[in-house]
């Protein structure tokens, strides 16, 4: 959680038509309590609509708002996803004396992600210490519209992850953990120009509370990719499933050459193909 959180009032004062809540998800959940989404944000401005922003890695968010017709709590909650925005006038209701029940908390719009995330996750096959695990925290990206939203449902971008370099040491494995919440189609390309064979594989991960039952599914069995060879893999939700994250493993067979390079790119899309 970014705290203090970004202000939803500043864009109003600036005459902007929307508030964009864009921040990495909390890394608080790195201890034994990992796996729970702790982030919760508030907006003291009313909205004409909510939609997932273009760079969101997470796929599910809830919006809580003060609803005088919903007794006894006076709180109604809607969920938005990449397929479904929420369009409708919501008032923040943060005038004095207007409170949620039975907590007595001031009326305001509340926003929180519901996907699971475990900052302390390490692949079960990783050897720690020794192996290197690079984990990319998911981005929260929510747009609160102050004026009429677009008539076309806003989409998440196709996310392109690209690198030509990863540190690789003989005898150790380098792991790359990338969020893939809700993605329907993922194309992964790996070309090896390290001067050595690289054992390369892909796992799909579903996080769990407390890391008690985190699920790892082999999507590409780790196998050797020769120097100057490449490996391509397409992951489809219809055949492989949907995962919170993908884990890529790289284990080099010897000392890399002086200009060791790889070409790794993963394109993640919400559009089934």
């Amino acid at each position: 959680m970014s705290y203090p959180q970004p202000s939803s009032t500043a864009p109003v004062l600036a005459g902007q038509g929307f508030f964009r809540l864009k921040t990495p998800v909390s890394t608080f959940a790195s201890g034994s309590g990992g796996g729970c989404p702790t982030d919760i944000y508030e907006s003291t401005q009313g909205a004409a609509a909510f939609a997932i922003g273009p760079e969101s890695d997470l796929a599910h968010y809830k919006i809580g708002y003060l609803d005088p017709t919903n007794s006894p709590s006076l709180m109604s909650i809607v969920e938005i996803t990449p397929e479904r925005m929420f369009s409708g006038l919501l008032y923040a209701r943060n005038e004095p004396g207007t409170v949620y029940q039975p907590s007595g908390r001031q009326g305001r719009i509340l926003i929180w992600p519901t996907d699971l995330w475990y900052a302390g996750y390490t692949p079960s096959a990783a050897v720690i210490p020794g192996d290197t695990v690079f984990t990319y925290p998911p981005q929260i990206d929510i747009i609160q519209y102050y004026s009429n939203p677009p008539t076309i449902q806003p989409q998440r971008n196709d996310k392109l992850w690209f690198t030509q370099y990863l540190p690789m040491t003989s005898g150790q494995t380098t792991w790359l953990v990338l969020p893939s919440y809700g993605r329907s189609y993922i194309d992964v390309e790996f070309a090896n120009a390290t001067g050595q064979a690289v054992t390369y594989g892909i796992l799909g991960v579903l996080y769990s509370f407390g890391n008690f039952a985190t699920q790892e599914t082999t999507l590409l069995m780790a196998a050797s990719v020769a120097n100057n060879a490449s490996q391509n893999k397409v992951i489809k939700s219809s055949t492989d499933g949907v995962f919170d994250a993908l884990v890529f493993s790289f284990a080099i067979g010897g000392s890399p050459s002086a200009n060791a390079s790889i070409n790794f790119r993963a394109t993640m899309s919400d559009t089934p193909r």
Binding site: Y3, S26, F28, C36, P102, R105, F209, F212
Partner: protein
């Protein structure tokens, strides 16, 4: 249930502890008691208290939205989705209190957790 030693432990066991209350058809009482015990712990006037206070608003609202009567042991009135939300949100509050709360607030949340779940 065994008392949880600290807030991260409470968070990681939230599904186990609240799930047992759910199956025993006592989750409404437990969740309401948890929210009520912490009602005055996080102050509206203190901006740093808002994230935890906001989770409490959501948890308390969920508790009064749940079916207040009916059900039995093994056939709870509270729905599966409500139980799932309750566990996630209580865990979130525990972690946030650990990170943002004062030592007094942390103690209060842990006491409320162990006293109700």
């Amino acid at each position: 249930m065994a008392a949880r030693a600290d807030l991260p432990s409470a968070a990681s066991h939230a599904f186990i502890d609240l799930g047992a209350k759910w199956n025993a058809n006592t989750l409404v009482t437990a969740l309401s008691g948890f929210a009520a015990a912490l009602k005055n712990t996080f102050l509206e006037a203190n901006p740093t208290d808002h994230p935890c206070g906001n989770w409490l608003a959501v948890i308390a609202a969920l508790a009064v939205t749940m079916p207040q009567t009916g059900g039995s042991v093994g056939a709870p009135a509270v729905t599966f989705e409500q139980m799932s939300d309750a566990a996630k949100w209580v865990a979130a509050l525990c972690i946030l209190a650990q990170e943002l709360g004062t030592s007094g607030q942390q103690s209060a949340v842990l006491v409320a957790y162990n006293g109700n779940f």
